[in-house]
């Protein structure tokens, strides 16, 4: 009786709905387990189906919008429109002229991978990206190599010669559509023997170092850079740590500048001092400046004046 009096009215007036239906003491059976398995499989199947539909739809949309993969040209229309974009000097006309099949063949028959490889074999082209946009558009995007120096090579005729361009990564290629002034401003690379590779030439080792040096000089001493005529790799095989490795630059104001193939900043600083000194002293040019030694710059005047001793740098060398 005492227990009864402790019960609240809600407990006394309980309905069957107050009985738990999820107390975990369920009585399972084989049909129930079979149904549960069936439901789980249904859920897995449903999820898989939805995923498949989504992936298929996405794939179809992707296929219709772009066709990047080789041979993935999804229409029979010829490429009536060629959209051409580059960060260099090559043009759409050059492309169409070089690859005549693009404007005649159907998009379906275009082999984009072969086209890409053919473009990148040009040397001037660093990366080629080709896409088809249905129904009839071919989008060509190029990234070109930037010319660092020129090099003179033997021509096809006897005793003739041709000029080639050397990119910052050492690739030797026939520069096309560069403005004449751009090419004339490039110094010639000398003091090395080019190695043949296929129809062209093997990459020149150490050109990245040379390109760094030229870039720095161009930014710090643009007037002096314009007088550069040659870059000699006679004493530089591409290994900047090799003993006595030097890069020699021949120019109009200074007949020969000698750089060590590393730590260009301090060398340029010393060179700047020397050039400033020469300009202030109204010199008509210097014969040789060697900044390849640490904290020192050796200067040789062009005319027979009293010899300038080894000039001391800021650090007091």
């Amino acid at each position: 009786m005492a227990k009864k009096s402790e019960e609240s009215p809600a407990e006394i007036q309980r309905t069957w709905k107050d009985l738990s239906q999820s107390d975990g003491r369920r009585v399972s059976s084989q049909p129930a387990r079979r149904r549960q398995l069936h439901l789980i499989l249904n859920i897995i199947g449903g999820v898989t189906l939805i995923a498949l539909v989504i992936v298929s739809a996405w794939g179809l949309i992707h296929l219709l919008r772009t066709a990047e993969a080789p041979g993935n040209t999804a229409a029979n229309h010829p490429a009536r429109q060629v959209t051409f974009d580059t960060d260099g000097v090559l043009t759409r006309d050059w492309f169409i002229k070089s690859f005549t099949t693009v404007s005649t063949d159907s998009l379906m028959s275009l082999d984009l991978r072969s086209l890409k490889l053919a473009l990148e074999a040009h040397g001037q082209v660093l990366v080629a990206d080709l896409k088809v946009q249905l129904p009839d558009q071919l989008v060509v995007t190029l990234k070109e190599r930037q010319p660092a120096v020129r090099i003179r090579v033997a021509g096809t005729l006897r005793d003739s010669y041709d000029d080639r361009v050397v990119a910052e990564d050492g690739t030797v290629y026939k520069g096309q559509l560069y403005p004449k002034e751009t090419l004339e401003r490039l110094p010639y690379l000398t003091g090395l023997k080019l190695a043949k590779q296929g129809d062209g030439y093997a990459r020149i080792p150490g050109m990245d170092t040379v390109a760094d040096l030229l870039k720095l000089t161009r930014s710090r001493l643009p007037s002096l850079f314009r007088t550069f005529r040659t870059v000699s790799l006679e004493k530089f095989d591409g290994n900047p740590l090799a003993p006595e490795a030097t890069i020699m630059i021949g120019g109009g104001f200074i007949d020969e500048i000698v750089f060590a193939p590393r730590a260009f900043e301090p060398q340029i600083e010393r060179l700047t001092e020397m050039v400033n000194y020469a300009v202030q002293s109204k010199s008509n040019g210097l014969k040789r400046v060697d900044v390849s030694f640490d904290n020192k710059a050796f200067v040789q005047n062009r005319v027979a004046v009293p010899k300038v001793p080894a000039a001391k740098t800021k650090s007091g060398a």
Binding site: W16, L19, Q21, S22, A32, R35, L39
Partner: protein, 406 residues
């Protein structure tokens, strides 16, 4: 958008009977229509007299029927409406009274709520839980009223018929359904479910007694003014007739069942005295003649006893004045010949066999043993209707709400 699209739910009506488990699967569409999609049946084991005696076996049988129904419907059941039966179910009537609080004596919702809470406030003994609270209607100053809101009066009274059952037995029934990873959305008395299907709205308003004689139990519901005012479950059914025959004639249960189905009759005629029937009917070894009168006497005695119990339980309420629409018999055992005559003789009311709602088109389902499951589906469909719509139960609602059975 939600209003435009039809809201539907796949529901199952489950009747765990003593002889077989019946599952009907239907799609309830906005509470207006039920499309029956499939059904499953399985012979019962582990349930006697409507109560679970072996939980594991009963679960296996019920789950098999549920699985068959799901496969037949080709869909997954989302909720279950379960028939409640068993002699543990009892009922009592309780009144709730509230004095009208408004100074102008017009009844407000608060008055109705107080009267209803008062009627429902009776505590149950420990171990018992309510299954149904069935409202019998309102009276205002002693006058019966359908809807007392905005009517003037001093004392509002309502009466409820409360049905309660044994907590453990109900919990076991829930666990059987829960074991199939389903929840019971609602539990409805078997007699109320079958009563909805075998008699008309007019019968229920005038007053009718529905007796559903199953294999293990007999469920009854007395309707007046459209509401069930008395219900009950008696642990006697068709199986007892078979058992009586088996004991009385000294034959096995299978033969007794066969005799009951072939020759059974609830009333004795004068012509039956000297007639014999064959036990097996094929003159094979073991076949023997059995006096027809003996069969009838056994069945007659048990049916009389059953009907007398019901008459006694209802007392003066089972009178022609209270129950002008008479007695409607349903359930598998209602197919016993002459049982209608027996009911008329014992209860003293006009009796007839129930006919299923005309909306049930499927001939296979127009059988007495499916009345309860069909009634459960009806209530399940009704429960899916939006709450606002249910409140407006008027002529329009009656016109638009119908059952559509394929």
């Amino acid at each position: 958008m939600a209003n435009i699209m039809a809201q539907s739910k796949i529901i199952a009506a489950v009747e765990m009977g003593s002889s077989k488990i019946v599952v009907l699967v239907g799609e309830a569409i906005e509470g207006r229509t039920v499309n029956i999609l499939g059904m499953g049946e399985h012979p019962t084991n582990g349930i006697k007299k409507g109560e679970i005696t072996d939980l594991k076996t009963a679960s296996a049988c019920t789950h098999t029927a549920l699985l068959k129904a799901e496969r037949s419907a080709g869909t997954t059941i989302e909720g279950v409406y379960l028939a409640a039966t068993g002699s543990h179910l009892e009922g009592f009537s309780n009144r709730g009274i509230a004095n009208v609080s408004a100074s102008d004596n017009f009844v407000t919702r608060a008055d109705i709520t107080r009267a209803v809470e008062n009627a429902k406030s009776k505590a149950l003994p420990p171990g018992r839980v309510y299954v149904h609270h069935i409202r019998s209607g309102f009276t205002l100053d002693g006058r019966p009223v359908d809807d007392p809101t905005t009517m003037a009066g001093e004392t509002l009274e309502t009466s409820y018929w409360h049905v309660h059952g044994d907590e453990m037995k109900i919990s076991n029934a829930l666990r059987v359904i829960n074991g199939f990873s389903l929840n019971v959305d609602d539990m409805i008395l078997s007699s109320i479910a079958s009563g909805r299907m075998v008699c008309t709205e007019e019968d229920r308003k005038a007053g009718v007694l529905v007796i559903d004689i199953g294999a293990g139990t007999t469920d009854y519901a007395l309707y007046k003014n459209g509401n069930a005012i008395r219900t009950g479950v008696i642990a006697v059914g068709g199986d007892h007739l078979t058992n009586d025959l088996s004991l009385g004639l000294r034959i096995n249960a299978k033969s007794a069942e066969s005799i009951k189905l072939r020759y059974g009759k609830a009333e004795i005629d004068k012509d039956d005295k000297n007639d014999n029937v064959l036990l097996l009917g094929d003159l094979s070894i073991g076949d023997r003649p059995i006096p027809r009168l003996a069969i009838y006497k056994i069945l007659h005695a048990r049916i009389d006893e059953l009907l007398i119990i019901i008459k006694n339980k209802l007392g003066s309420m089972a009178s022609p004045q209270h129950v002008p629409a008479g007695v409607v018999l349903t359930g598998g055992t209602a197919r016993l010949p002459n049982i209608v005559d027996a009911a008329e003789r014992i209860i003293g009311l006009p009796a007839r066999l129930g006919e299923l709602d005309s909306a049930v088109n499927n001939r296979d389902l127009r059988q007495h043993e499916y009345a309860t499951a069909l009634g459960l589906l009806y209530y399940g469909a009704h429960a899916q209707r939006p709450r606002d719509e249910r409140r407006e139960a008027g002529i329009l609602s009656k016109l638009t709400t119908f059952l559509k059975f394929n």
